[in-house]
Point group: C2
Chain length 631, copies 2
C-alpha cells in the first residue's frame, strides 16, 4: 500500500497529466452529447478536474474488475453528468472510447443517466439527492466486510437542497464514517436559474460542519487543491469529509463557461468544433499520458465464500396468536446467524416492527437511522449494491417517504428488502396518518418488484426467508394485529404462489384475500357454509408475481364469480392484481376494498365500517350468486 | 393591537395562571388517552407548558372562529401529541371538555392524529416532518394576503431527522419568514430509544443557525423563559425563529418523567389516578384561571371577496403542435390575472414545466423551492389550507419524492394542485430515472383525488382551469413531446368525462387511450380503417373520477373487446381504471402498458419497443377480433 506521507509529492508530479486528462474528459463529454443531440455537457465540464483527480490519482480500483469487493467506490449522485462518468471509465480502459458515441441510443447501456446495467455503476442515479444516501450504505458495508475501501460520492450544489442529503449527512456524521468522502460540485447554476446559495461557499460549509462533517472549501479547477483536499479527507479520522469545490459550469469552453441557460443542452455541431478546438489547446502535448497506468489497483484480499445456512423453521402451534410483524422480527433474528449478509435498517420504530430482536443478536449489522426513511432506504441500496442483503423496516405508510428511492431501486434492480408493518385500517385507533392503504399500489406498479403479504406467523417467517433469497427489490407487507397461525410449520411457500384454504366441489364463488382479510374470508366461509353456501377461499400471499394459473382455475370453477377483499384502497392492490391476472381468461373481479379516507376506531369496527369484514364478504357473495334459498 | 414593549410585563403576571393551565392540559391528555386505551400522553406532557403559553398568552385567535383569515396559526407537526392539541382548544372554549373523552372513538373527530375534520386543524399531521413544510406555506400566505398573522409550528426532536424539515429550514431562511416561529420539543426520547442528539442542545442550535434561522435555546418547562423566547421571536426581523426547548418526556408525573419505554402508551387506570393526583397538586388553587378570557382575539380586517373571472379560452388551430406542459404554463399565466388565489411552486424546473410563464406575470405569487419537492408540496398544503390555490409542478417522476405528503394531502382533503410533466417513456433519451411510470398509480390510489391527463393543448388548458375550480387534491399528468391540437378551442371538458374521438356502427373494439397514446390510437384507427376494420377510440382524460357509463357503453357496443394503452406501467394506471369501471358490467380489459424497466432512446422508438405504439394497438385489435380477412 502507498505510504500516505509520500503521496503528496508523488501526486504533484502527475498534475500536468491529470490536467490533460481533464481536458480530454471534457472533449469526450462534449462529443458524446452532441452526437446524442441531448445531455448535460456543461454539468460535466465543471467536474472534469475532480473526475481526473479521483480516477487517476486517488481511487484504488481495477477498470477490468469493477466489482472487486475491496475497490474504492465512486457514486455519481448528480447522475445527469453521466457522459463524464462514462468518459472516465473509458479513459481508465474499462471499454473502448468509441462506444461513448452510442450515448443515449436505444440498445446502448450508456444511458442518459447511469444504471447498474453498466458493471461500474452501483446504483441508478438521476433523481437527485439519492447518491449520497447510497454512499452511506456503501461506507457502512466496508465496515461490515472489514475492508478499507473508500467511498466517494459526487453531488451537485443544486441537489443539496434535497432533504435526503441532510438525512444522509446526519447518519454520516453520527457514525463517523471517515471512509466516506463527498465532493460537492458548486457550479452555481441549476437547471432553471442560479442555485439557492450560488457561490457563497460559507453557506455550504456551515451546514456540513453543523451536521458533523469535516468540510474543505477549494477551487474545484485547481488540481493541486483537489489532490490536497482528497489527501486531507483520507487522513481525517472519526468523521466523513465533504469537499466543497467552487467550480464554473461549462468550465473550459469560453462561450458556455459560467453562463446561464446552458443546462441540459448539447452543443450544436459547429459549437462542438469550436469547443473541442479550445479544449485541445488546453492539452499540453509535451506530457505523455498513459491514463490506465496511473490507476492504483486495490489490494486483493482473500475472503471466505459466503455460505448461508438453512433458516430454522417456524415453531408455532396452529391457533397461536401472533402478529406477522412479530414473526418478521423473530425470523430476522434467525437470519442474523444463518447469513452474514443480512443487515437491518430502522427508522426509530424497531420496537413496533420487532427488528429490535435482530439488533439484540447482531448489533453490528443493525443500523438505526432515527426518523429518516429516505436514508434508511437509500443506505440499504448502497449496502445491497455491495453484497449485503438489507431489510429496511418501518410502518408501511412511512415507506412512502422513500417512494422515489423505491422507484430508483426498481430501475437499478437493487437487491433491497423493504418491510412495511402496520399496514391498513386494521391498525385501528391511530387513524389514517398511520395506515398504509396505497403501499401495494406503490410497489406493485414497479416491474420486477416482488411483493409478498403473509397472513400468519408461519407464512411470515417463510416469506421473509424467501425475500432474503430472491434477487431484486422485494416488499413485505406486515400487519399490526395478532392473527391465528393457520399453516403447519413445514408448509411450503413460493414466490408467485397462493394457497387455496377452503374448497369444495360446490363452490359458487372465489374469495381472494390476503393478510388480515384472510380471516374475514374464513369467517365468511364458515357462516356461509352453515347457511348452505360453499365458497372457495384463497390466500394470495404473493401479489407480485401472481399465480395466474391458480387464480384462473378458481375463477373457472366458480363460474367467474370472483370477489377480492383487501385492507388497502381499491386501486393498485389485491383486486387489481387479481383482475389483471384473470382478465385475458375472460373473468372479472368484484372488489371489496377501502374506498374512502378512514378514521380512528377499533380494528374490528373499522373493517366493518369500511367494507372489508366477513359481513361484507357474505353480502357480496349473496348479492352476486343469490342467497341459498333463492337458488 | 398590543404594544409589544408592554407585553413582557403583562405576560409575567399571567405565569401562575399559565402554569395551572399547563397542569390541566396534562391531566386532560392523561385522562383522554387512558379512556381511549391508547395514545401518547408522555409526548403531551413534555410540551404542555409551551402549549399553555402559546394558546393563552401568545397567539391571537378566536376559538369560535378558527378560520378567521387574520388569526395566528398553530400547526402540530408532532401529530401524535393530538390529545393536548384537543385539550388546548377545549380549554380555549372551542368545544366542551367532556368531548375529550371521545378521543380515538369511531365517530369522534378527535382522532388519534389531527385532521382538518376539526375546524381548528389546517393540515393533517401524524407523518413527521410535514407540519413545518405546511407552516412555510402558511407564512407565505400571510404575505400573499397582506396579513400580519403569525404561524407557529411545534415539532418533536425526533422528527428533526426528517430531510423535509431541512428543506423547510432552507426555504424559511432564504425567504426570511419572520412571521414564522418553530418550537422544537426536545424531550430526548423517541419511540424506540433516545433520539440522535438527546439533550445536546448545541446540535440543534448549530443546525438551525447554519440554515439561516434565529435559534433560541430554553428550558421548555420554565414559563418565563418560554414567554421571553416567544417575545424574542416576535421581535426578530428578517429571519424565522426556532425555539429549542429542552423538555422532559412525561414531565410532571414522577413515574414516567424522563423514562424510556413510555412512548405511545396510555396510563392504566390506577396509574392515571396517581398521575392526576400528582398533577392536581401542581395546580395553585389560589389562582383563579379564566382561560378563554386570556386569549387575544385577532384584529378583524375587511377584505374584498375574491371573485375569480373566467379564464380566456385557448387559442390554437387544429393541428398546431404544442406540448401539454407548455399549454399548462400558458394557462397558468392566464389564471394569474383571473384569480388572485392562484400561486405556483417550483423545484428548479420552471423552464421545463413552463411555470416560468406564470412567474413572469406574477412573480410575487411564484415560489421557487429549488430542488426540494417535499417542501414544494408541503408548503402548497399550507397555502391551500389558508385559501390559496397552489399549483406545485415538477417532472412527474419527482413528485414521488413527496408521495407521503400527497398521501397526507388526501387524508386532509387538502386543495393542492399537483402537476407532473415529462410523464412516461415518451420523454425519450433521458432514460428511466426521469420517466414517471407509476405516478397514476400513486394518485389514483388515494380516495377523492382528482386525476386529469390531457392529450393536447386545448384539453390541457381546459383541464388546468378545471383543476383550479375543483375542490380537493388534484393531479395533472402532462407530457414532454409536442402533440397536435385535436380539439376545437370551445370544446367542453368535465371532471369525470371522456371523449369518444372515433366511432362508427361497425366498431369491433374500443381502444381507451390517454395523453400521448391517444395519437397512437388515432394512427391505429386510421391504419385499421384502411384495412377495413373499424375501432372506437376514447380519450380518457379524466382518470379519477372516471366515466363508468361512457366506458361501459363503449364496451357494450364493441362486445366487450376493450383495449387500454398507456404510457405508464401496467399496474395502477389507465388499464386498471378502465378495468374497475367496467368490471361489474361483466367486461374485461386487454392492457397495453410498459411492462419492464425502460431505457434511453428516441421517444417513437421507445413507444414501439415497450409495446404501446400504434403497431402494438393494431396487433392487439387483430389478435383479439381477428384480421378483417379472417372475419
Amino acid at each position: 500500500m502507498l505510504e500516505f506521507s509520500d503521496m503528496a509529492t508523488d501526486r504533484a508530479s502527475v498534475i500536468p497529466a491529470l490536467e490533460n486528462i481533464a481536458a480530454q474528459l471534457r472533449i469526450d463529454s462534449a462529443r458524446s452529447t452532441t452526437q446524442a443531440g441531448s445531455g448535460h455537457p456543461t454539468s460535466c465540464f465543471s467536474m472534469a478536474d475532480i473526475m481526473a483527480a479521483l480516477f487517476f490519482a486517488e481511487m484504488r480500483f481495477d477498470p477490468k474488475d469493477p466489482h472487486n469487493p475491496d475497490a474504492d467506490r465512486f457514486i455519481l449522485s448528480k447522475g445527469h453528468a453521466a457522459p463524464i462518468l462514462y468518459a472516465a471509465w473509458a479513459a481508465a480502459g474499462a471499454f473502448d472510447r468509441s462506444r461513448l458515441l452510442t450515448l443515449r441510443e436505444l440498445g446502448s447501456d450508456l444511458e442518459g443517466h447511469p444504471t447498474p446495467r453498466l458493471p461500474f455503476v452501483d446504483v441508478a442515479t438521476g433523481s437527485l439527492g439519492q447518491g449520497i444516501c447510497a454512499a452511506i450504505g456503501s461506507a457502512l458495508n466496508a465496515r461490515r466486510i472489514s475492508s478499507d475501501y473508500r467511498t466517494y460520492v459526487l453531488l451537485g450544489d443544486g441537489e443539496s437542497a434535497e432533504g435526503s442529503v441532510w438525512e444522509a449527512a446526519n447518519i454520516g456524521g453520527r457514525d463517523g464514517l471517515d471512509n466516506l468522502c463527498g465532493i460537492t460540485d458548486v457550479n452555481r447554476l441549476g437547471q432553471s436559474q442560479h442555485t439557492m446559495w450560488e457561490h457563497d461557499m460559507g453557506q455550504f460549509e456551515r451546514r456540513w460542519k453543523a451536521f458533523g462533517w469535516h468540510a474543505i472549501v477549494i477551487d474545484g479547477h485547481d488540481m493541486s487543491a483537489i489532490l490536497a483536499a482528497l489527501d486531507e479527507a483520507r487522513r481525517t479520522k472519526g468523521m466523513p469529509t465533504m469537499i466543497l469545490a467552487r467550480t464554473e459550469k461549462g468550465k473550459g469552453v469560453s462561450f458556455v463557461e459560467g453562463k446561464d441557460n446552458w443546462h441540459g443542452k448539447a452543443l450544436k455541431k459547429d459549437e462542438l468544433e469550436k469547443a473541442v478546438a479550445e479544449l485541445e489547446r488546453q492539452i499540453d502535448t509535451s506530457v505523455v499520458v498513459d491514463a490506465p497506468a496511473m490507476i492504483t489497483k486495490p489490494d486483493t484480499r482473500r475472503r471466505a465464500a459466503v455460505a448461508p445456512r438453512p433458516v430454522p423453521p417456524p415453531a408455532y402451534k396452529i391457533g397461536d396468536q401472533v402478529a406477522t410483524r412479530e414473526a418478521f422480527g423473530d425470523v430476522l433474528a434467525k437470519l442474523a446467524s444463518t447469513d452474514p449478509r443480512i443487515v437491518v435498517l430502522d427508522a426509530d420504530v424497531k420496537n413496533s416492527t420487532f427488528t429490535d430482536r435482530f439488533e439484540k443478536v447482531a448489533p453490528d449489522r443493525f443500523y438505526e437511522n432515527f426518523i429518516a426513511e429516505q436514508v434508511m432506504v437509500g443506505a440499504a441500496m448502497g449496502l445491497a449494491a455491495r453484497g449485503a442483503i438489507p431489510f429496511s423496516a418501518t410502518f408501511a405508510c412511512f415507506l412512502s417517504r422513500a417512494a422515489d428511492f423505491i422507484r430508483m431501486a426498481a430501475i437499478g434492480g437493487n437487491n433491497v428488502k423493504l418491510a412495511g408493518t402496520h399496514a391498513g385500517i386494521s391498525i385501528g385507533e391511530d387513524g389514517p396518518s398511520q395506515m398504509a392503504l396505497e403501499d401495494l399500489a406503490m410497489c406493485r406498479a414497479e416491474p420486477d418488484f416482488t411483493v409478498l403479504y403473509p397472513c400468519d406467523g408461519v407464512s411470515a417467517e417463510r416469506l421473509v426467508a424467501l425475500a432474503a433469497e430472491v434477487k431484486g427489490p422485494t416488499y413485505l407487507r406486515l400487519s399490526r394485529p395478532k392473527t391465528p397461525v393457520i399453516y403447519p410449520n413445514d408448509e411450503a411457500f413460493t414466490v408467485g404462489g397462493l394457497k387455496v384454504l377452503r374448497q369444495s366441489s360446490q363452490d359458487v364463488a372465489t374469495v381472494v384475500a390476503a393478510g388480515v382479510t384472510v380471516f374475514e374470508a374464513l369467517k365468511a366461509h364458515d357462516q356461509l357454509k352453515a347457511a348452505g353456501t360453499a365458497i372457495r377461499v384463497i390466500d394470495l400471499y404473493s401479489l407480485a408475481p401472481v399465480d395466474r394459473t391458480g387464480l384462473v382455475a378458481a375463477a373457472r370453477v366458480t363460474k367467474g364469480c370472483v370477489i377480492s377483499v383487501e385492507d388497502h384502497y381499491a386501486a393498485g392492490g389485491v383486486g387489481d392484481a387479481v383482475a389483471e391476472a384473470i382478465a385475458d381468461a375472460g373473468f372479472g373481479v368484484h372488489r371489496l376494498a377501502v374506498r374512502e379516507i378512514p378514521r380512528s376506531g377499533k380494528p374490528e369496527e373499522l373493517l366493518d365500517r369500511f367494507g372489508i369484514s366477513a359481513a361484507h364478504i357474505i353480502k357480496a357473495v349473496t348479492s352476486l350468486v343469490g342467497a341459498p334459498a333463492a337458488r
